[in-house]
C-alpha cells in the first residue's frame, strides 16, 4: 500500500481545479473550496478504481480527514 501522503496526492489530482498545496493527509476533505456531494462521488470512484475498495455512505459519514479515508481503505484491503 502506498503512503498516506501519496494517497492524498493521488486523490487531489482527481479534483481538477483544486491546488495540491492546500490538501494534506490531516485536512478535512470537506473543507476543499466549493465542496459538494459531487466530490464524494469522485472520492468513491477514485478508491474503487485504484484500490478495488467500495466506500458506502456510512464510511463517508464517519470520516473527516483524508487520512481517515486512507485508514478505511487500508482496513478494507486487509479484511
Amino acid at each position: 500500500m502506498i503512503s498516506a501522503e501519496e494517497f492524498t496526492k493521488q486523490l487531489v489530482s482527481e479534483f481538477e481545479d483544486v491546488p495540491e498545496n492546500i490538501i494534506f493527509p490531516d485536512t478535512n476533505y470537506r473543507d476543499i473550496p466549493n465542496w459538494s456531494s459531487m466530490y464524494a462521488l469522485i472520492i468513491i470512484a477514485f478508491i474503487d478504481a485504484n484500490f478495488d475498495v467500495q466506500l458506502n455512505a456510512n464510511d463517508l459519514k464517519n470520516t473527516q480527514t483524508v487520512r481517515d479515508l486512507y485508514s478505511i481503505v487500508c482496513a478494507k484491503m486487509n479484511s
Partner: protein, 352 residues
C-alpha cells in the same frame, strides 16, 4: 445464476424519439456556475431533452413505433404483441401499451401490457418479449421503452434535476429460426427501494397534506414528496458492487469474452458511474463503449435503444454485430444481455 436464453428471435429494427426542447445544464440557474461546470465534467451530461407539458411517454413511443412499422413494411394486423417499459405511464390506469395498441391501429387480438421497470427495463423487456416470441405462437412484437422522467424531478433538487432527459423508443423483434441465441443475466434487489423512489402518490402514502410541501433536505436539494429522490452515493455503490460481476458472469456462462464484443451499450447513468463500470470490466477499447448521455442525459428505459441508433447506426444497419447490453438502476434491478444482430433498421432520431 442460471444462464437465461432466447432462441429463434431476431432484432429487426430500432427507432427512438426525443422532445425537441433542449435544456443546457450550463444554464441551470439553481446552482452556481462552478457547480454547473463540475457537474458537467463529472457526469458528462451537457444537455437534455425535456418534453413540454401535455406530451406524454406514450407520445414519445408512438412516433418511433409508427415510423418503424412503416419502414419495416409490417402489416399492422401481423403484430401480435406490444410491451411497454415505463415508470412514467400516461395514467395510473390503464397501461400505456394498451393505449398504444389502439392508437397504432393494431388488432384487438394483440397482447398489450406494461412492465414497471426503469433503467434495467430494456434488457428485461428483450428477455420477456423474446421468450414470448420464441415458441412461434406469436410472430412479430414491439418493445416500447420510454420515460418522461422530467415530470417528477424537482428544479430545486440539484441531485436529480440536471441528470434526466425524456425519450421514447420502439424495437421490433420477430420469430426467426435462423437467429442466434441471445444470452441474459437478470437480477433484482428490493432492499434498494429507497435509493431511487417517489414516496407519495402510490397506494402506500397516497396524496397527503404534505405531498406538495417543498422540503429542504440539504443546501441545493429541496423537493416535494411527489418528486423523485435519489441517493447518489448508495446508487453509485450499488452500481460498483453489482454491475461488473453480472456482466462478467454472463460472459463466462455464455462462453464468450469481452474481446468478442463489437459494442457495449450500457444504460446511460452518468459518466462517472459508466466509466467506473468500464474500468472494472477492463474494457480498454473505449471506442466500443457507446455514450449518448452528453446530449440526452440519463434517459431511463430508453437509454440503450437511443444510444444504439444515435451512436452506431452506420455499423448496426450494415454489419453483423455482437452487442453487450447492460441496464441497472431503480429497484434495484439490473441485467445484461449478449446478442448477435444481423444488419437491422435504425431510423434516424425523431424529434417531437
Amino acid at each position: 445464476m442460471s444462464l437465461l436464453t432466447v432462441n429463434n428471435v431476431s432484432l429487426k429494427g430500432v427507432a427512438a424519439c426525443v422532445p425537441i426542447n433542449v435544456y443546457s445544464n450550463l444554464n441551470y440557474s439553481h446552482v452556481t456556475q462552478e457547480e454547473r461546470e463540475l457537474f458537467i465534467k463529472t457526469t458528462g451530461i451537457k444537455e437534455r431533452r425535456v418534453a413540454k407539458e401535455g406530451m406524454s411517454t406514450s407520445d414519445l413511443c408512438y412516433e418511433p413505433a409508427k415510423q418503424l412499422i412503416e419502414k419495416l413494411n409490417w402489416n399492422k394486423e401481423d403484430i401480435d404483441i406490444v410491451i411497454m417499459i415505463t415508470q412514467s405511464p400516461d395514467y395510473f390506469i390503464p397501461g400505456s401499451a394498451i393505449i398504444l395498441q389502439h392508437k397504432l391501429g393494431l388488432n384487438k387480438s394483440c397482447l398489450a401490457f406494461d412492465i414497471n421497470l426503469g433503467c434495467s427495463g430494456y434488457v428485461y423487456g428483450l428477455y420477456v418479449l423474446g421468450n414470448l416470441l420464441s415458441s412461434g405462437q406469436l410472430k412479430k412484437g414491439l418493445l416500447l421503452a420510454g420515460d418522461k422522467s422530467t415530470v417528477s424531478a424537482a428544479f430545486t433538487d440539484k441531485s436529480a434535476y440536471p441528470l434526466f432527459g425524456d425519450a421514447g423508443s420502439a424495437t421490433a423483434l420477430e420469430f426467426d429460426e435462423s437467429a442466434k441465441t441471445m444470452y441474459f443475466n437478470l437480477a433484482s434487489d428490493g432492499s434498494g427501494k429507497d435509493a431511487i423512489n417517489i414516496e407519495h402518490g402510490g397506494s402506500r402514502n397516497g396524496i397527503q397534506k404534505d405531498t406538495f410541501d417543498l422540503i429542504e433536505i440539504e443546501p441545493g436539494i429541496a423537493r416535494e414528496k411527489r418528486h423523485l429522490k435519489l441517493n447518489g452515493i448508495e446508487i453509485f455503490n450499488f452500481a460498483l458492487r453489482e454491475v461488473s460481476p453480472n456482466v462478467n458472469e454472463l460472459y463466462s456462462k455464455a462462453n464468450q469474452t469481452i474481446g468478442d464484443t463489437d459494442y457495449f451499450v450500457f444504460h446511460q447513468a452518468n459518466k462517472l458511474i459508466n466509466e467506473s463500470v468500464r474500468k472494472k470490466l477492463k474494457i480498454t477499447d473505449v471506442s466500443k463503449v457507446l455514450y449518448s448521455l452528453e446530449k440526452y442525459g440519463n434517459t431511463s428505459s430508453a437509454s440503450i435503444p437511443l444510444t444504439m441508433i444515435t451512436e452506431a447506426s452506420d455499423t448496426l444497419t450494415t454489419k453483423n454485430s455482437k452487442l453487450c447490453l447492460c441496464g441497472f438502476g431503480v429497484g434495484y434491478s439490473w441485467g445484461s444481455a449478449l446478442i448477435d444482430t444481423k444488419p437491422f433498421i435504425c431510423l434516424p432520431l425523431i424529434e417531437l
